[in-house]
């Protein structure tokens, strides 16, 4: 016999949490003033504008409206398939990857306060961050590094899961393509970040990458059907010279801290939106 799964209402969960915290607080004196503050807060135009939670949620229609109208609550769809709520089904890898991207953005912006992308300073700034000149510097740098490794790993596991559950099938074809582009962007972010410590490892690793550009068909000066010289090819466009130097460092920096994250953020948002709007690849049971 089929077991019935009771799907929890996300809004109900949220409501229960708020109510239990409130009832705990209301027993104390602090709680009374807190309750007064909350009453005032709920009555402000800002809160009402953001959540539209004023009317009692006594019908499905009203709940639906609340969910649809709030940016934060509509991360969950109005109705969802039970597989969406089973972590053993979706593994939560897409969410994990997104969180790593958020961690990378925050730690990356903090590292930018001390890192200068120029040849005399880059390596020593990195060493200063790593060796404890700045409080939590080593921690933040390592967080950035491990989160970057994790983002690559988790996005691959995410793709593996999507493949195995057949979630790439119609109507979600476009989202699979977006996912592939996002994987490429993740790898490019890792690749561009690799040069920034400006040590021997990064220099020669990027040299290998540069050679790939030089050996690209048509657009690389060493590749098959080459149409360009070594001053016009893909490798030159990437590195800004015939070998990796100051121009290459600043190019990789700009790609790493602005261009690629910008494109990635937009695509992640679109990817999410499609997840909610596309419907499900498996038959509804």
């Amino acid at each position: 016999m089929r077991k019935k799964i009771n799907i929890p209402d996300p809004l109900e969960i949220l409501n229960n949490i708020v109510v239990s915290i409130l009832s705990f607080l209301s027993k104390s004196k602090l709680g009374t003033s807190w309750k007064k503050f909350l009453d005032w807060l709920v009555d402000t135009e800002v809160y009402r504008g953001a959540y539209t939670l004023r009317s009692p949620l006594d019908s499905v229609g009203k709940r639906t409206t609340v969910m649809k109208d709030s940016l934060f609550l509509h991360f969950w769809p109005v109705k969802t398939h039970r597989n969406d709520l089973r972590i053993s089904y979706h593994l939560g890898m897409g969410l994990a990857t997104t969180w790593l991207f958020v961690i990378l953005t925050i730690t990356g912006v903090l590292l930018m306060f001390y890192y200068r992308p120029s040849v005399p300073q880059a390596y020593y700034d990195m060493v200063d961050i790593r060796e404890g000149v700045y409080p939590f510097g080593m921690f933040l740098r390592n967080m950035h590094r491990w989160a970057a490794h994790g983002m690559v790993l988790f996005s691959i596991i995410h793709m593996w899961r999507v493949f195995n559950t057949g979630s790439y099938k119609p109507p979600r074809q476009l989202n699979w393509i977006l996912g592939v582009i996002l994987l490429v962007l993740t790898l490019l972010l890792s690749f561009t970040g690799y040069l920034l410590p400006w040590d021997q490892l990064s220099l020669w690793a990027i040299t290998v990458g540069q050679q790939m550009g030089a050996n690209a068909p048509v657009l690389g000066h060493l590749g098959p059907f080459s149409q360009v010289t070594n001053l016009q090819d893909a490798a030159f466009g990437l590195v800004g010279g015939t070998e990796i130097g100051p121009a290459g460092l600043i190019r990789f920096y700009v790609l790493h801290v602005f261009f690629l994250p910008f494109v990635t953020t937009i695509l992640i948002a679109y990817h999410f939106w499609r997840v909610r709007k596309d419907g499900y690849s498996f038959p509804q049971t």
Binding site: W204, T207, V208, Q211, G237, G240, A247
Partner: protein, 177 residues
């Protein structure tokens, strides 16, 4: 006031004109942005330069020209300008005069993936698919050796274990004084 009449044909014409000017604007901007990444001048050492007289390089030595990515190999057969770039993936191999391989003493070794070359920069081990490339050398009128890195020679002489060393195959790649 008389109202000007727009025909359907005229409207479509205006539409085409409007959209093509937008396309031209966006496309032109993209081309300009791309072109912006390829400067008119780059601050790199020149590709043609002089490296001193032949007497500076005694026979049997391999000398690194610092900052130019070039070795000058001086052999009994003549001089060779070896471009210090592994043919595998472009790292800079190191010269070890005291290490010896199956093709005599002195080998080049690439730190990235372990390709090995003999003293004539011919690959004999590791992933390197070809010998290192050669810059063109010439003797300038003032008696100094001139290097031209824009004209690159590719000696297609592959070494395999057990074969005899045959320098005559390399003859055309040496500068003879």
């Amino acid at each position: 006031m008389e109202q000007k009449k727009t025909t359907r044909r005229g409207f479509v014409g205006l539409l085409v004109l409007g959209y093509s000017s937008i396309a031209l604007y966006v496309g032109g901007s993209l081309v300009a942005f791309l072109r912006f990444l390829f400067p008119y001048a780059i601050y790199e050492p020149p590709q043609k330069f002089k490296i001193g007289t032949p007497e500076d390089y005694p026979v049997g030595t391999i000398t690194l020209i610092t900052g130019r990515g070039l070795w000058i190999g001086s052999y009994a057969e003549g001089f060779a300008g070896i471009i210090a770039k592994c043919t595998h993936l472009g790292c800079k191999p190191n010269w070890f005069p005291l290490k010896s391989g199956p093709f005599g003493q002195g080998i080049f070794e690439c730190p990235c993936h372990g390709s090995k070359y003999d003293k004539y920069a011919r690959n004999f081990a590791g992933p390197a698919p070809a010998p290192m490339r050669r810059a063109t050398l010439s003797l300038s009128p003032d008696g100094r050796i001139e290097v031209d890195k824009t004209t690159v020679l590719e000696p297609k002489v592959k070494l395999e274990d057990g074969k005899e060393l045959d320098e005559t195959k390399l003859a055309e790649f040496f500068l003879k004084i």
